[in-house]
């Protein structure tokens, strides 16, 4: 049987209400269920076939588990992507020279002008944060909806902030001038890799949106 636009919407709503929060996860599930319903020949009504398709796919009573599984498998994908990006950033000779020069520059400032180190630290720390806020507003204005790709794009974009926070609190004040240049350099590498992961997620989502 041919599934109508309204029936497709009904399937999407059912999945959404059942716990599949992200539209980019539902997209593939909707197509799967519609394809299964449409594969039936005969005169059965849509609701009966839809329920049967949910059973066939084993999605009839565990949608929240499916949502959490997609969430975890997407995290795995983005975590891997982030690690790969970090390696690729370091492997790029131009980037590597930039980060070495950055470290040497901050180290020189830390030794020669220790008083400037703290304000400089905050500038370097918050600059990516400003870019992130700008990107967040920009994507929000694009009305991309609740997307698992965008959630992880933003998570790995902000990942540097989380992992920098702890070591900074643990460093004794007397050793700040030694450790801050190292932490700031690592922070920039992680943030830059996170930005590339975010751009990958955004591109992916925009492609899906443009087709719709």
């Amino acid at each position: 049987m041919k599934v109508t636009k309204e029936e497709i919407q009904r399937i999407d709503n059912y999945l959404k209400e059942g716990g599949i929060k992200y539209w980019d996860v539902r997209l593939e599930m909707v197509d799967h269920l519609v394809s299964d319903v449409e594969s039936y020949e005969g005169s059965a009504d849509f609701e009966t076939l839809f329920k049967q398709s949910l059973i066939n796919a084993n999605w009839h009573n565990n949608l929240k588990a499916v949502n959490s599984q997609s969430w975890k498998s997407t995290n795995k994908i983005y975590r891997k992507k982030h690690s790969k990006e970090i390696i690729s950033v370091i492997k790029n000779p131009v980037n590597l020279i930039f980060f070495i020069l950055f470290y040497l520059g901050i180290n020189w400032i830390a030794q020669s002008f220790p008083k400037v180190l703290k304000p400089l630290f905050f500038v370097v720390l918050f600059l990516p944060f400003v870019i992130m806020t700008y990107e967040f507003i920009k994507s929000w204005l694009k009305k991309l909806g609740r997307s698992v790709n965008m959630d992880y794009g933003f998570f790995y974009f902000s990942f540097g902030i989380f992992i920098t926070n702890l070591p900074i609190q643990l460093i004794p004040k007397t050793q700040l001038s030694i450790w801050l240049p190292i932490i700031l350099t690592l922070y920039l590498i992680v943030m830059f890799a996170g930005y590339r992961v975010y751009k990958y997620a955004l591109k992916k989502v925009l492609i899906m949106k443009s087709v719709n």
Binding site: K5, L27, D31, N58, W59, Q69, I77
Partner: protein, 115 residues
């Protein structure tokens, strides 16, 4: 559970990636439901890939750069098509060689006359 089988389920586990890559190597591009139906048809219902295993496997292969995704609008809904990348094609050859070697070894153990 990874894959549902009518019989010998333990023997087939771990072969999902190879099955997906092989199918995509033979068909330019495929979508999730199509893959499940193709496997069912080719094995005459003996092998039934569960949706809970298929989609995470496809997404993993995509993240590894072995698959490319194309999204197309089909009858009022979006469809994700998967196709092999250049690396994916190379990996398919490796996986199939590994599988052939495995079959040969097993044959030598189980039925030496045929090996």
């Amino acid at each position: 559970m990874y894959i549902c089988f009518m019989s010998n389920s333990k023997l087939y586990k771990g072969s999902l990636t190879t099955i997906i890559l092989k199918l995509l190597n033979e068909n330019d591009r495929m979508y999730g439901y199509e893959i499940t139906q193709k496997v069912k048809a080719l094995t005459k219902g003996e092998l039934n890939i569960t949706e809970g295993a298929l989609y995470p496997a496809l997404h993993k292969l995509e993240a590894e750069g072995l698959l490319d995704v194309e999204v197309a609008k089909v009858d009022n809904r979006l469809r994700k098509y998967y196709k092999l990348t250049e690396n994916g094609t190379k990996e398919t050859v490796n996986k199939l060689e590994e599988l052939a070697e495995y079959i040969k070894t097993m044959q030598a153990l189980v039925n030496p006359k045929l090996a």
